[in-house]
């Protein structure tokens, strides 16, 4: 009897362990990876932003606690203010451009036409091309002497006199030039996601609207936009996060110039961390980036919860 009880008790315990602990065992490896590659760097980064962790302490590996000093200094730093302004401007232009062009392309690719599959594949090219290769290609396109853009404009009769130095002759032009490259890079993602959203709209709605005599404008307003609201919110959020943190393309194309025209916060963070070796200060800039991202995410959650 005791043996039986022991056996059944053991089975219960085994069942209990399998039921309650085993799932945790399965997610443990992923949890460890997340802790090591996400949580630890985040916590460490935040900690560093409250320290003076500069060249000399860096070599002795001893950050010195300075409280809010780095953040106070950031508020007084005109390069930070300029970079913040430029980053916001860059994000608004690029994300809007990506969304508008992505939506237009998604609508076009949602229509029935021959070779649609091929076009859907081709549209992914900018997304697939590595950022560094894309940046180098754009430098060539914008090249003042040999760039294809100047050649095309000249052949079309739109450019007379001296060739345009797209990345250098004025601050606005340089910012717009890198924005175009940024839009080009991100449009495929927008297009594909919005296209998926469009395809999830029941065909019956279009048919009903056709019967009711709705115009294209009305179809967009009353069918497409409401159905794309959630997916648009998600893609806009993701795109905003990626664009706000963009570094490689802009850094390669302009190094942040001319005259701070394309000096993004990510470039400033890199400059302060790896050129100035001011790790604490760079972590504070990254901390500000994090706060901005959190505000955007909070806004996103607020919007989606309200929708629900």
């Amino acid at each position: 009897m005791n043996q039986k009880q022991d056996k059944s008790g053991g089975e219960d315990r085994g069942f209990f362990l399998r039921k309650t602990l085993l799932p945790y065992g399965f997610i443990l490896p992923v949890l460890l990876v997340v802790l090591v590659v996400l949580v630890y760097p985040l916590v460490r980064g935040m900690y560093l932003s409250f320290t003076h962790y500069s060249l000399d302490p860096l070599l002795s590996q001893k950050p010195v606690w300075v409280g809010m000093m780095n953040y106070v200094n950031l508020m007084k730093d005109f390069v930070f203010r300029l970079s913040f302004k430029t980053t916001v401007l860059w994000t608004v232009i690029v994300v809007s451009g990506q969304y508008i062009i992505g939506l237009v392309l998604a609508l076009l690719l949602n229509a029935e036409f021959k070779g649609r599959g091929l076009f859907r594949s081709l549209i992914l090219i900018p997304w697939i091309v590595p950022s560094i290769a894309a940046a180098l290609a754009w430098i060539w396109i914008y090249d003042q002497d040999h760039g294809v853009l100047n050649v095309m404009l000249r052949q079309l009769g739109l450019l007379r006199g001296e060739n345009v130095a797209w990345l250098g002759s004025s601050t606005w032009l340089a910012l717009m030039a890198v924005c175009v490259a940024g839009i080009w890079k991100g449009v495929p993602f927008m297009t594909i996601v919005l296209l998926a959203g469009l395809q999830s709209i029941p065909v019956e709605l279009y048919e009903a609207s056709r019967i009711d005599g709705a115009r294209f404008r009305q179809v967009v307003r009353y069918i497409i936009i409401p159905h794309l609201k959630t997916i648009s919110a998600i893609t806009l959020l993701l795109s905003t996060i990626w664009t706000f943190n963009q570094f490689d393309m802009v850094y390669i194309m302009t190094k942040g110039g001319p005259a701070y025209a394309t000096h993004l916060l990510s470039i400033y963070t890199y400059l302060m961390a790896f050129d100035a070796n001011e790790m604490g200060y760079a972590a504070a800039i990254a901390g500000v980036l994090l706060v901005v991202m959190m505000v955007i995410m909070a806004f996103y959650f607020w919007v989606t919860r309200r929708e629900e």
């Binding site: 003042q144 002497d145 006199g161 130095a165 302009t254 005259a259």
Partner: protein
């Protein structure tokens, strides 16, 4: 009996062990790591041959190269220092040594360096390699910057191609004469003067004007680095520099988007009749534009308003790191890089079309080439960029964007120079 035998055997083995391990230790090959930024195939062959010769002479030592791009070298070396994995021998950009000397990253080199070897170098070659007490490395190859001009365009403009501008007034006069609308469409298509002002380059072309005007840019005052860019001479120089674009319009404002290569392309295409650029461009033009032969020449920077001659020019540097476990062997390898007839340093310099600050190099036929000679002559009045510890940060964060803003007409000269001084001083409390 069996136990006793085992004990004896074990004792013998233990007794021999240190000797065995010691022998293994002695036979263990030494690996020297050599961190450098060479990317030119010809000069790489000089390094590869030097390594082969060294390894043949020292069979127990291997040399492993770490080749890093110029853009990443500074941060990569810093990271290696922090990670306590610094290479044994390191080649650095000429302006970086000061910062790392302050961090005690290098070994003082006097104990290795024979007096006769030190005497081979020009005295100003060691400017950035010493502190108050010691010398921390050797000069490697480097460059000076100077003027390139199109002799055929000089002739077309009625200027004497044998007489390049010798001072600022002549520079401006020549640039005005050379700035032209050649096809009559009402727009300038040939500019008198070009110089790179993209990214991190403007400061390198502004500094010579500052020195020529007599401005020291930064100076040590009561133990502190202080910016003196806004003094009278600094304002004169910067105003002249900016007015080339804004007032006299002999230089296009699009230079803020041009690196050295873009300006070189403009020079080759005839869009710039004169340009300031580095010495390596001599080789680049010769190799890439043979059709220009006989249509261009070079000259040193013109002198400033008070006759001061100055140019930017400095050697890169080689060091043995403090973290190296094989300092003696590292020196042996370093010494080999400076040996031979012509020396490996000379071979390397010739391959990359640069200079080195040795007395012997000036006498080589290579240095007497008419297109190179002005750059060789400039070595005597060439300066390093300011050696303040945070100058590099100041240059990238404040100075270059500030110079670009002035060129683009967004900021005034005086207010910008005062800002430069303030920000520089803030970085050097």
């Amino acid at each position: 009996m069996r136990i006793r035998l085992s004990v004896v055997s074990a004792a013998i083995l233990l007794g021999l062990a240190p000797g065995v391990f010691q022998a293994a230790e002695e036979k263990k090959p030494i690996t020297l790591t050599f961190f450098h930024m060479n990317t030119v195939p010809g000069s790489q062959k000089v390094i590869t041959d030097a390594i082969a010769a060294f390894e043949e002479k020292h069979p127990g030592i291997r040399v492993r190269e770490t080749i890093v791009g110029w853009g990443d070298a500074h941060s990569q070396f810093m990271i290696s220092l922090v990670a306590k994995r610094a290479p044994d021998i390191v080649m650095l950009g000429g302006t970086w040594a000061t910062e790392f000397i302050r961090l005690k990253a290098f070994v003082p080199i006097e104990e290795f360096l024979p007096a006769e070897m030190k005497d081979k170098f020009l005295p100003n070659a060691f400017e950035a390699l010493r502190d108050e007490k010691h010398l921390y490395g050797l000069p490697w190859e480097g460059a000076t910057w100077g003027m390139f001009y199109r002799t055929n365009l000089f002739e077309q403009a009625g200027l004497d191609p044998e007489k390049p501008p010798g001072n600022w007034a002549e520079l401006l006069a020549a640039a005005k004469a050379l700035t032209r609308d050649t096809n009559g469409d009402g727009r300038i298509d040939q500019w008198g003067l070009g110089f790179p002002a993209k990214g991190w380059e403007p400061a390198d072309f502004w500094l010579p004007f500052m020195w020529q005007a007599g401005c020291r840019v930064v100076e040590m005052r009561e133990g502190k680095w202080r910016g003196v860019m806004s003094d009278e001479a600094g304002q004169t120089a910067t105003r002249f520099f900016v007015d080339l674009v804004r007032t006299h319009r002999v230089t296009p404002q699009s230079i803020t988007g041009m690196d050295w290569e873009a300006v070189k392309n403009g020079f080759v295409a005839g869009r710039f009749a004169m340009m300031f650029n580095g010495m390596w461009v001599v080789k680049v033009i010769r190799d890439s534009a043979p059709q220009l032969e006989g249509k261009w020449a070079t000259a040193p920077y013109p002198a400033g308003p008070t006759g001061i001659r100055a140019a930017l020019g400095y050697p890169n540097t080689l060091h043995i790191t403090e973290q190296s476990q094989h300092k003696k062997e590292a020196w042996q390898f370093m010494e080999l890089l400076y040996s031979g007839h012509p020396s490996r340093l000379d071979q390397y310099s010739i391959e990359v079309c640069s200079l080195n600050w040795t007395k012997n190099f000036i006498a080589l036929p290579y240095s007497k080439d008419p297109l190179r000679k002005p750059f060789v002559d400039s070595m005597t009045f060439a300066h390093y960029p300011p050696g303040a510890p945070k100058y590099e940060v100041f240059r990238k964060r404040i100075l270059n964007p500030g110079l670009q803003a002035m060129i683009l007409g967004q900021r005034q000269v005086k207010e910008s120079l005062e800002l430069f001084d303030r920000e520089f001083n803030a970085l050097h409390p």
